[in-house]
């Protein structure tokens, strides 16, 4: 498996606060990488840096070995890395289908984007079908449950034809039945050939899905490995216990 996405000494500082501190990571083709850590560990900040929402303070980001740190968010999406938001951010006054169509029109390489309404429409319906929202295509996001909105977030991101999908707590907050469906959905996404980094607090979901898990604490990477290795790592245990205390 080749390394699709790679970060070298990625850092983000806010004033004196080191939200992300020289983190090295990589993601292989077809892999699901779990990203866990206590609250305030810098997970979402790392996502924001990778997705270009905020520029890194230092470090390198490589996609297919090509440098992409400091790019704007949209350019990174065009290159094939797309994020979802922990607190979902649908376009409220666009219908569900139109939400997805935005991704189809604007995501991915220029040549692959939907050029016509009809094409975007088809792609949108296909993706809504995939996430299970097809029947609601003409409704508005506000009419969806939280689970529905999270699915919409995923569908919209998928519409950009990403090679890497950054999922920010798509399972958290769902009831067990919904969670189970979401986990299956994420597997389905991977089976479509999309590599995934997921931030997740629901341990069952993240441990079950991830090929590999990375742990952040106070902005630093403290552990990496498969689920069992990480769970057994004393530093990880300490970080989580410390938070509970």
């Amino acid at each position: 498996m080749s390394r699709l996405l790679e970060g070298e000494k990625v850092s983000k500082h806010f004033g004196g606060l080191k939200a992300v501190d020289a983190v090295d990571f990589y993601l292989s083709e077809g892999e699901i990488l779990g990203l866990i850590g206590p609250n305030g560990a810098g997970k979402t900040t790392l996502f924001s840096v990778v997705a270009g929402s905020i520029p890194p303070s230092a470090g390198l980001l490589l996609l297919d070995g090509k440098q992409m740190s400091g790019w704007n968010a949209h350019r990174i999406v065009h290159a094939g890395v797309c994020r979802t938001h922990q607190i979902v951010r649908p376009f409220a006054r666009l219908s569900i289908l139109e939400n997805v169509m935005v991704g189809a029109f604007y995501g991915g390489k220029r040549a692959k984007r939907a050029k016509t309404m009809r094409r975007a429409h088809e792609q949108g319906i296909e993706l809504l079908d995939f996430v299970g929202l097809r029947e609601r295509a003409a409704r508005f996001p506000s009419e969806l449950t939280l689970a529905g909105r999270k699915k919409l977030e995923v569908a919209r991101a998928l519409a950009t034809r990403p090679r890497v999908l950054l999922l920010d707590e798509v399972v958290a907050g769902l009831n067990p039945v919904e969670s189970q469906k979401m986990v299956e959905l994420i597997r389905g996404v991977r089976d479509r050939g999309v590599s995934i980094i997921m931030i997740e607090h629901v341990m069952k979901a993240v441990m079950g899905l991830s090929d590999r898990v990375m742990v952040l604490d106070y902005g630093k990477k403290i552990a990496e490995g498969n689920a069992e290795q990480v769970a057994a790592n004393p530093e990880v245990v300490a970080a989580y216990l410390g938070q509970e205390a």
Binding site: F14, H74, Q86, R89, A137, F140, A159
Partner: protein, 359 residues
Amino acid sequence: MRQLTRWLPEWASPWAVVAFVFGFAVLYSLPLVISFDSYTHGIITQAFVFAAAAMAWNWLGGYVGQISFGHAAMFGVGGFLSARLLLTTSFPFWIAWIVGGLAAASYALLWGHPTLRLRGPYFAIATIGVSEATRLIATYWGDFTGGSSGISLPISEGTAKFSLYWYALYFMAFVVLLSYYLRKSRIGLGLLAIKEDVDAAQDVGVSANYYQDAVLFLSGLVVGVAGGIYASYFVFIEPGDMFGFERSISFLLMGVIGGVGTILGPVLGAFVFVILQEYLIASYPDLYLGLYGTLLIVVILFEPLGLSGLLLRIARLFGYRPRVLDITVGDTKLTAMEEPEAVEPPESDVEPARKEAKA
């Protein structure tokens, strides 16, 4: 109708095209059929020009959601440059207008590129600064604007002024098409996404900066050309009038009163504005600011879509249900009828870093 649909671009619905052609034909032939006195003729001409400018304001204010208090800057640049060209060169006037428009658009880009990164109120306030600074500099820069004495164009015979009606009509028709295109094509969807949530839009690949710049450029272009036509119509222009704050506000009021974000609302707004200005205001000149202020308050509190929203309400009383969109999925046809009454505010106010803390 089928035939028509086939060669139309995707974003143009056949009915809209028919309505457009019909409307154009009516307005085109109106002065030839009914002979207006030249006063009414002139008022309609001005309404066309302002309608175009108001639509252009609305691209920024309504489609992208960046309220501008500074469009007079482009109106003035377009007006003065085309006036200068008409005075010093032998360009046909429509070329002068377009060159003026392009200069205005470039000027818009110059200040817009940095300020469009600001959102909401910040952008609005910045535009006030831009237009007032522009006004002062333009007034001072006598070589270009004639200073506070302004410039007079060579007087044209009545016929030239008379024919401006049609030029203004072509101009407005073109802007209507562009308005329609910017809303209904795929670009429209991207602009709406930017309006709803810039960051989320960028996160699905919409180059928000590029599109905002582009919309401002187009908007400036149209407003600049409007300034040029205005200059040709009024023959004498002066910086205080062209660049004034009142001018900027008039575009805003036309857009907001007509219906922010709608396609044809600003046209309605412009016509209402011009009619109010000419007939009502002429009788009660003391009240015009208060009237516009009240309209603004009423629109914001009760009918965010302005007159367009009001028309829609009346239409609903008669059983009209606007179709938001039709979606055919396999064999089933899904139709969304209306926007839901209450739309939750987008959850976009939280800083990325703080979100983590909340979780």
